[in-house]
Amino acid sequence: MRLLRDALIWFAAIAAASALAFWLGGYATDVYRKMLIWVALALSYNFLFGIAGQVAFSHFAFAGVGAYAIVIFAHQLGLPFGLAFILALALSAALAFVVALPSTRLEGFYLALATLAFSQLVLVVISEGGDLTGGTGGIANYRLPHVFDVTISGPWYTVVLVLLVASTLWMLRRLDRSAFGRACRAIRDNAVAAAAMGIDVRRIKVLAFTLTSTLAGLAGIAYAYIDNVINPPVFGLENIFLLLFMIIVGGAGSHIGAIIGAVFLYLAPFVLEPIVGHGFMVVFGVLVVLTILFQPSGLAGLVNRWPARRAT
């Protein structure tokens, strides 16, 4: 009975989120699509940072790897889209694994620095990659090819993004509730105690980093076909800090918190600018600080409290 209820809730949520794609106008659709990418990235980063406790700053770099890889493989090198997709995902996973091996030996501040250096390296490579990466101007003039003789465009591409978010959430929730998820949380809370309980700390850390970074690569692949343009600034360091804020404001370690944080912080400038004009970033900053000060468990804490209040 519970299984059926859960399936119905998932179906209703996906149907409602997809239906929006057919109802929104051009601007709202554009904002909605990009927000969905941020939500997908926030979900995977929440698992890495909030659940596995790894303060890594390479998440956006892996999104960049995915985005550039799919465009280079499918459009610069002309490989069939299916093969290009698999190769792009495999490259994201392989790079994530290579970075994870040495990086996960580090903790806290040192892990942050190592992954920050990797992000900078990715940025330099895509900015200086000549014709292959398009340099600082990036790559444009490509389109999502036919997949099984079907062209996915317009609102149907938004449905693909909704499915991306839904599948990312579904997979991460399943993992969170598995032995792997419990091991991640145990390592986050006390790595020494986790090791004493027989958890292979290094293996779990490498797996968590590789998996979440590959999911970031997948989000990057999806991003590449929103405007059919990719360029270095989108994968720069500024965005990784915004992603971190999304997790903290939403509530680190909570899937619903990651969604709320991403939606709130991504939409805030769009909603605030027409109301407060040029000062919208100041108001945005104040809102973030107030949330952190007065709701340290994140906005997800409010959602969690609501059913409890209703019950009393």
Partner: protein, 383 residues
């Protein structure tokens, strides 16, 4: 039920705000402007936008276009390419007939996907990236700012004309600065000038004295300044003055941003830089006078780009005789011999042979900084 009502109300409000669904009863010609008020492009995007606003005001005072007033709808993209495309869509939803992009080149590149899809006239009056009209075959997009390659050729021609044989390049470690330095190096090698050394001032450096001591020891004829980061550039000019150096300093068009004049006050006298503005040109004088009357200050070259941009669009609208998107595109594409405030004396813009970059290759100039102001032209063109 009250919750449902509140949710519906909140959703309606959010949609109203995000879609900017504010109807105006006025009969106006709407032109969209994408600028940056809060991020890294603010220093040049804001002055260029000021020029657009002044130009629109002047055009409206003279009767507007097709008998209607121009209404500017200005959007902030925070110099983020993805946001720039979203804002371009918002402008199209708001019913603009043309879009002027004033922020960074990557942002303009991404916004082009919208102008191509919606067949909306799109102009960047100040962006200089050479790839903006080559990466995407967007017949609705036009560029009138001086291309980076044209500015570089002018700076190289000036360097050669001064008889310099050995030079040093000083840059910071940002990717844009690295790109400038690479262009400088290639350009210098092309005209037979040797790059004796290249010095990098890292971000966050508290002094550039050690870098400039190396430059002084190399006994070069001139220094090419390829930095783009304000604080590091300030360290360069401080060290240059501290060491009492006399080697001529040549800068990129980045030095035409007026903020540097106040940031490095009294440190930049005698520095030459590439620009596209000759204050002695009659069209430039007319612009300077209008700007002075409106804002009670001397303009830098940046607002002139915006001023020319809005005038060019107004001319295209008048020439098209309607707001039909295809007619507007055709009218803009047929522009020839347009003389604006920007460009060296005797040069003009035009989109000849189907090209969508309109700046005259001989239109860039070299100016000298004097008394903390962008001073006179000391060289023009590429010969």
């Amino acid at each position: 039920m009250p919750l449902l009502r509140s949710l519906r109300g909140a959703l309606a409000l959010a949609l109203l705000l995000t879609q900017g669904a504010v109807a105006t009863a006025q009969e106006t010609v709407k032109i969209g402007v994408i600028t940056d008020h809060v991020a890294s492009a603010k220093f040049y995007a804001e002055p260029v936008t000021r020029g657009v606003e002044l130009g629109a005001k002047m055009i409206n005072q003279n009767g507007g276009v097709l008998g209607k007033k121009i209404e500017l709808i200005i959007e902030d993209d925070q110099n983020k390419p993805d946001v720039s495309a979203a804002k371009a869509r918002k402008l199209v939803d708001d019913g603009v007939v043309a879009i002027i992009s004033n922020t960074g080149s990557p942002a303009t590149q991404q916004a082009q996907t919208v102008s191509l899809e919606t067949k909306t006239l799109h102009l960047t009056p100040a962006n200089s990236a050479d790839t903006l009209t080559t990466q995407l075959d967007d017949p609705y997009f036009f560029q009138t700012g001086p291309l980076a390659s044209i500015q570089l050729a002018t700076l190289m021609a000036y360097t050669k004309s001064r008889g310099f044989k050995d030079v040093a390049i000083v840059r910071d470690n940002s990717s844009l600065s690295q790109s400038f330095a690479d262009s400088f190096r290639k350009g210098l090698e092309k005209v037979g000038i040797k790059v004796a050394l290249q010095e990098v001032i890292p971000q966050g450096a508290t002094s550039a004295v050690a870098n400039l001591q190396k430059v002084r020891a190399a006994k070069v004829d001139a220094i090419l300044q390829a930095g783009v980061l304000g604080p590091e550039m300030l360290q360069f000019f401080r060290a240059y003055q501290q060491l009492g150096m006399t080697e001529p300093v040549l800068g990129s068009y980045n030095l035409s941003i007026p903020a540097y004049l106040t940031m490095a006050k009294d440190l930049m006298d005698g520095v030459v830089f590439v620009d596209a503005f000759d204050a002695d040109k009659p069209e430039a004088k007319a612009f300077t006078e209008a700007y002075g009357k409106e804002y009670h200050e001397q303009p830098s070259s940046l607002p002139a780009y915006g001023w020319d941009g809005i005038h060019l669009i107004a001319q295209a609208i008048e020439k098209a005789g309607s707001l039909d998107k295809e007619k507007l595109r055709a009218a803009m594409a047929s522009t020839t011999n347009y003389v604006g405030a920007i460009g060296a004396k005797g040069t003009s813009w035009g989109f000849r042979d189907g090209k969508r970059t309109g700046f005259d290759p001989q239109g860039a100039v070299v100016r000298v900084i004097k008394d903390n102001q962008h001073g006179p032209v000391v060289f023009a063109g590429q010969n």
